[in-house]
């Protein structure tokens, strides 16, 4: 049993569950059913992408919402490649286990020398997965009892949530610069572009990664 990974992931699971409750409740007030929330969490298992998709969908097109979520998950491509050696077995098993790689389990499984401990990575991932799916479903059921989203100020909760998520994704000065540039691009393009498009335009900010 990958018990060490599970134990290490407990504090992260509590934080993930808090995000999950908030996601479920907000998704419900925006018209998503509990079944939709369950299917989305079970397949996607990525808080920031799920929040992005539903908030862009609120006033933008479905295509913009899908693209925003894909771009947010773009980081999982290099992260999946880096941790690939810890995920073994036939292709379908690797495909399934790869879904357990998220920011927190990746950090717990990382040995610090570029290699990964499979038991830690997957144990942590399994606990976080359970915490995310259960908490988003519970949040969505609770969300049914919330009143008018505008009166409750829930539209003011979204930027706060994205700010909290951004907080966890900035690891150095370059990350902070990409964030500042991304926000600037989104605001400047808003009066001209259809809703949702400024988010996609903001991805150009990651090009500062080319600057040394």
């Amino acid at each position: 049993m990958p018990r060490s990974g599970i134990r290490l992931a407990i504090p992260f699971a509590v934080a993930v569950a808090a995000f999950g409750l908030a996601f479920g409740a907000l998704a419900r007030t925006m018209g998503m059913t509990t079944l939709m929330v369950f299917v989305m969490s079970a397949l996607t298992f990525a808080g920031s992408a799920q929040f992005a998709a539903i908030s862009v969908l609120r006033d933008g097109s479905a295509a913009a919402a899908i693209l925003a979520a894909i771009l947010l998950n773009g980081r999982y491509l290099p992260m999946g490649i880096a941790s690939a050696s810890a995920i073994r077995g036939p292709w379908w098993r690797r495909l399934l286990l790869a879904q357990l790689v998220v920011d927190e389990s990746w950090a717990i499984g990382h040995r610090g020398d570029g290699t990964f401990d499979p038991r830690r990575l997957l144990g942590a991932g399994a606990l976080l997965y359970a915490a995310w799916v259960v908490s988003t479903v519970v949040g969505s059921i609770a969300g049914a009892f919330l009143g008018d989203p505008h009166t409750l100020g829930l539209d003011g909760a979204f930027p706060a949530l994205f700010l909290a998520l951004m907080w966890t994704q900035i690891h150095d000065r370059r990350g902070a610069l990409a964030a500042a540039l991304g926000a600037a691009i989104a605001i400047v393009t808003t009066p001209f572009a259809p809703p949702g498009v400024p988010i996609i335009a903001a991805t150009l900010a990651c090009l500062i990664g080319l600057v040394r």
């Binding site: 397949l43 999946g80 909760a157 706060a160 903001a202």
Partner: protein
């Protein structure tokens, strides 16, 4: 099929493929370092754009309202290491109260 279901399924399928691509296809090989840097900068850039548009955008217009006050409060709460749920509830509370005051 509703638009919301389309988004739910498309985002889910795309994420399964993105996460699975490395372990299924590229096991052991690495992406060029530059590309990894770019892909990892996507998250802060897109999240910051989401913060910006959620806080000062209404449709296609830039507006300053209660949401900016709520974001400032959330920022301070995060600096003080408040838990996420507290930050979110605080932001909603500030928005709702400010709205109550300005409309009344």
């Amino acid at each position: 099929m509703s638009t919301t279901w389309l988004v739910v399924l498309a985002v889910g399928a795309a994420t399964v493929l993105i996460k699975g691509a490395g372990p299924v296809l590229l096991g052991g090989r690495a992406l060029p370092g530059r590309l990894t840097t770019l892909l990892r900068l996507l998250a802060p850039a897109v999240l910051a754009a989401l913060v910006a548009t959620q806080v000062v955008v209404s449709g296609s217009r830039l507006v300053v309202d209660e949401r900016l006050l709520a974001l400032a409060v959330a920022f301070v709460a995060l600096l003080l290491r408040a838990p996420v749920l507290v930050v979110v509830i605080l932001a909603a509370l500030v928005t709702a109260l400010a709205r109550l005051v300005t409309s009344g």
